[in-house]
């Protein structure tokens, strides 16, 4: 208990609450002096809640101690380069500068968000199982549905950060990221953001979906502001994390690790980070503009003042489309990284796969308005964006073909990580194939805003992120802990989740095409969808059950898993050439790259050689 309350997490949260109240009281006092309303349905007025929320974030940062070293530098004091972490579990709730600890913090947080977001889904899926409203009000449905979306999205961003932060320094032979303190900051700033996001539940929720379109979001309850502020805050995690990764991969690679000798996951991380560094600012701006419209009447999206709701959509989607490539590029990189290990063959067309990640990221910046085909935007934009959107299929195809060519005539084994890799390929394939009808304007005008889209993105997200994320955990768990997760439970997880998930998304696409709109709490029984919805709900619960089994496996294996200290998967990758768990300083002796990363089958070929340096 004491360990918890003296942790950065606890201190941060307590200070955040304190700062929230101070900020809210401050604004309330000023309003009192100005003769404005000081109380509202949620006690404080909206400006008080918003300003308080902002101050709360600042207090969290101060109270948790993440910026202590930087303040010392500002005062002209030196700080030590190495911070010792405590031995036990408490290091995970404190500020650590070790990228491995931070990676695990991110990963655990993402699993937490997966459970929260998933629970919201189970709740409203239960409501949807039958037509009519059984136990949710329309408000609650809209809020839970909206939160499901954004909580999962933040969960994915945080999970992606976990995979990248833990692995990239290991893969490139670095001791840590280029900016360890920035790395710690990037993790911790997400926490108050998540708190703000979830606080919307207590402040009236919000009824706009995660996309937050005005004018609806300009008139939604106070919870809407908590959504905007929470995402804005958490977005900094993404931006700064991306910055750190790019600097790290450019500056901290081991000797001899030229560009095309980097492990493929590093390429994926680079492409991902280019997006998070830049595009995220656009959603931040779009949210900021709505927040200010609500607070100060600044009519950016208010047609009565000359504003235009469609501008919001442009700014929003300019980030949110590239964001989906942030979701999937790392996972696709995990797939590329793991296949060679489990088929004992070189990664086919490694350079092309590397380039395809950059290609997807680049083209991904040019497609955003395909979310707006029906929006009333300038019609001349439709065809160009259709061309650019269909174009993404080309670099994506390169990946698929290369994976198949790698697997072809390999010597294949399918322990749990490989099961999830294969599952990821199949699910992402279906998701990707359901893309072109959405990219094509004429068909999209029927499909947009229906469950077809919901099916499409769940497939792509599960295939590109969820499945590979589980693959990565099963694969690198031994590296982090020195123990392996139980194979039998892993297989049950996979074989339960996969058919349930495929059923879910196929049915989503089916009802969507037949007329089931998105984001509706209730549907007309005459449409004949009730049976499908019941099955979808059951599938959702089966997925949840499979994930419960995963958690049982995960947590029990930390203490009781079979011990594994060596190169369990017989991988050529650098991190497996040192014992598990990974030593604190990664590589006591630095290594030099002397060969290709994926030269399986080439007798006598080495990838790295440890040197005698310091």
């Amino acid at each position: 208990m004491k360990k918890f309350f003296s942790s950065a997490l606890a201190k941060g949260l307590i200070w955040q609450l304190f700062g929230w109240i101070i900020g809210a009281v401050f604004v309330t006092l000023i309003r009192l002096l100005m003769g404005l309303k000081v109380f509202d349905i949620f006690f404080f007025t909206e400006p008080a809640w918003v300003f308080g929320g902002f101050i709360g974030v600042l207090f969290f940062i101060g109270g948790s101690g993440i910026v202590n070293d930087w303040f010392k530098w500002a005062k002209g004091e030196e700080t030590s380069d190495h911070h010792e972490d405590p031995d036990g579990w408490e290091k995970y709730i404190n500020v650590s500068l070790d990228h491995k600890v931070i990676g695990i913090q991110y990963t655990i947080t993402s699993l937490f968000l997966l459970v929260v977001g998933g629970s919201f889904a189970l709740i409203f899926r239960t409501e949807l199982a039958q037509p009519g409203l059984q136990f949710l009000t329309l408000q609650w449905y809209n809020t839970l549905m909206s939160l499901h979306g954004i909580v999962m999205i933040i969960g994915i961003l945080v999970g992606v950060a976990g995979v990248i932060n833990y692995l990239v320094p290991l893969l490139i032979g670095a001791q840590d990221m280029a900016f360890p303190r920035l790395n710690a900051f990037s993790y911790w700033i997400a926490v108050p953001g998540i708190v703000l996001l979830l606080s919307s539940l207590a402040l009236g929720g919000f009824d706009t979906g995660w996309t937050g379109y005005p004018p609806l979001s300009a008139r939604a309850p106070v919870g809407m502001q908590m959504f905007f502020l929470g995402v804005f805050t958490a977005g900094w995690s993404s931006i700064l994390g991306g910055l750190n990764l790019l600097a790290t991969t450019v500056r901290m690679r081991a000797k001899g690790m030229v560009a095309f000798r980097m492990p493929i996951l590093v390429w994926a991380a680079i492409a991902t980070s280019i997006i998070t560094l830049t595009a995220t600012q656009s959603i931040g701006l779009s949210f900021q503009l709505v927040m200010f419209q609500r607070l100060f009447g600044m009519g950016f999206f208010d047609s009565a003042k000359g504003g235009d709701p469609i501008l919001f959509q442009h700014l929003f989607w300019f980030y949110s489309h590239p964001a989906v490539y942030v979701f999937v590029l790392p996972g696709l990189g995990v797939i590329s990284e793991l296949i060679p290990v489990f088929v004992r063959k070189p990664l086919y067309g490694y350079r092309w796969i590397a380039m395809s990640s950059l290609g997807i990221a680049l083209v991904g910046f040019l497609v955003w308005a395909h979310h707006m085909f029906a929006s009333g935007m300038n019609q001349y934009l439709q065809v160009p964006f259709m061309y650019s959107t269909l174009l993404v299929a080309v670099p994506t195809g390169v990946k698929f073909f290369s994976w198949i060519a790698t697997i072809w005539k390999g010597k294949i084994e399918t322990p749990t990580p490989m099961l999830f890799v294969v599952g990821g390929i199949v699910v992402f394939l279906i998701g990707g194939l359901s893309g072109p009808p959405n990219a094509t304007v004429a068909t999209d005008l029927h499909l947009t805003d229906t469950y077809f889209i919901v099916g499409h993105f769940h497939d792509t997200i599960f295939g590109g992120y969820v499945f590979p994320f589980f693959a990565a955990i099963y694969y690198w768990f031994p590296k982090a802990t020195g123990r392996r997760m139980k194979e039998s439970l892993g297989k049950i997880h996979f074989w339960l989740m996969t058919p349930a998930f495929l059923t879910l998304t196929f049915l989503m696409m089916r009802v969507g095409m037949l007329g089931m709109r998105r984001r509706i709490a209730d549907y007309d029984p005459a449409l004949g969808f009730a049976g499908y919805h019941l099955v979808m709900t059951i599938a959702g619960f089966l997925i949840a059950l499979s994930i419960l089994i995963f958690f049982i496996n995960f947590f029990s294996s930390i203490k009781n898993g079979e011990k594994v200290i060596g190169n369990l998967w017989n991988s050529r990758s650098p991190e497996w050439q040192v014992p598990s768990p990974m030593p604190v300083h990664n590589y006591d002796r630095p290594f030099e790259v002397i060969g290709e990363p994926y030269d399986y089958g080439l007798a006598g070929s080495e990838y790295i050689k440890f040197t005698k340096g310091k």
């Binding site: 910055l243 600097a247 009519g299 950016f300 504003g307 700014l315």
Partner: protein
């Protein structure tokens, strides 16, 4: 353009400033007399190019920093990359604001006070000159020159904030250009507000650097904080080089 001694470097700073000043005056003239938007855009790009190359020293990113990752030289180069990546990210905010401005107002502009606009722009440009001078002085170990120049930069920066927040904003409000009146007002206040926020954080950064500089923490060999503050300050100026014509010079009066 390798310069070998301090005098040359300081002179170069002056020459670049003269170019910037002339371009600004030309900009003003073109806007009032000719109104050719293409010319204004070209001039802005040239000004930005000058600042990024000569004041922000972007080519330093390409310098060889050796092989020893633990050396000061290497770490400084890594820091430099990190800072530029941050600025790349930040420019997306300002880019988004410019997009919003042209989307909502297209080729009209709010009726702002041109004299005020020209004054605050000149003040900011001059502050960049002194910032460059401060950094160049420190590169040659001239602490006194550094201190004097950075103090002037600070004063000019405060002057810019006072000009925008203290004079322009009240003036706009008095003219009926308010945040909630219409999109022109909303855009004006959001753009100048976000920019001012960055100027303010720049001032805080400069104050810290001034204080630490006077305590002798920096030398010719080791003054990353000075370089960082300078590059950040020039970035804020670069943003204004785009924002000034966008708000004051481009478009027909509404």
């Amino acid at each position: 353009m390798e310069n070998n001694n301090k005098a040359d470097v300081l002179n170069q700073g002056v020459i670049i400033f003269v170019f910037l000043a002339v371009l600004t005056a030309l900009e003003f003239f073109v806007a009032i007399e000719i109104g050719a938007i293409v010319l204004l855009i070209i001039m802005a790009i040239v000004k930005v190019g000058l600042v990024i190359y000569y004041y922000m020293h972007i080519t330093r990113l390409n310098e060889d920093s050796g092989d020893d990752k633990h050396s000061l030289k290497y770490k400084t180069a890594t820091n430099r990359l990190g800072l530029w990546l941050f600025l790349l990210s930040d420019s997306f905010v300002f880019g988004g604001l410019l997009v919003s401005r042209f989307y909502l107002l297209s080729l009209t502009r709010p009726p702002l006070n041109q004299t005020l606009g020209l004054i605050v722009t000149s003040v900011l440009l001059l502050s960049s000159f002194f910032m460059n001078r401060a950094e160049s002085s420190m590169e040659y170990g001239d602490r006194k020159g550094f201190t004097a120049s950075i103090i002037i930069t600070l004063i000019l920066g405060i002057g810019f904030i006072a000009g925008v927040l203290g004079v322009e904003w009240p003036s706009a409000l008095a003219e009926g250009i308010t945040p909630s009146s219409n999109t022109a007002g909303a855009i004006f206040f959001m753009m100048t507000g976000m920019h001012a926020l960055h100027v303010l954080t720049g001032l805080i950064f400069l104050s810290v650097v001034l204080r630490n500089g006077r305590r002798g923490l920096y030398s010719a060999e080791k003054h990353w904080a000075v370089e960082a503050a300078a590059v950040y300050w020039h970035f804020v100026d670069v943003v204004w080089i785009f924002f000034y014509p966008a708000l004051y010079l481009i478009g027909k009066l509404i």
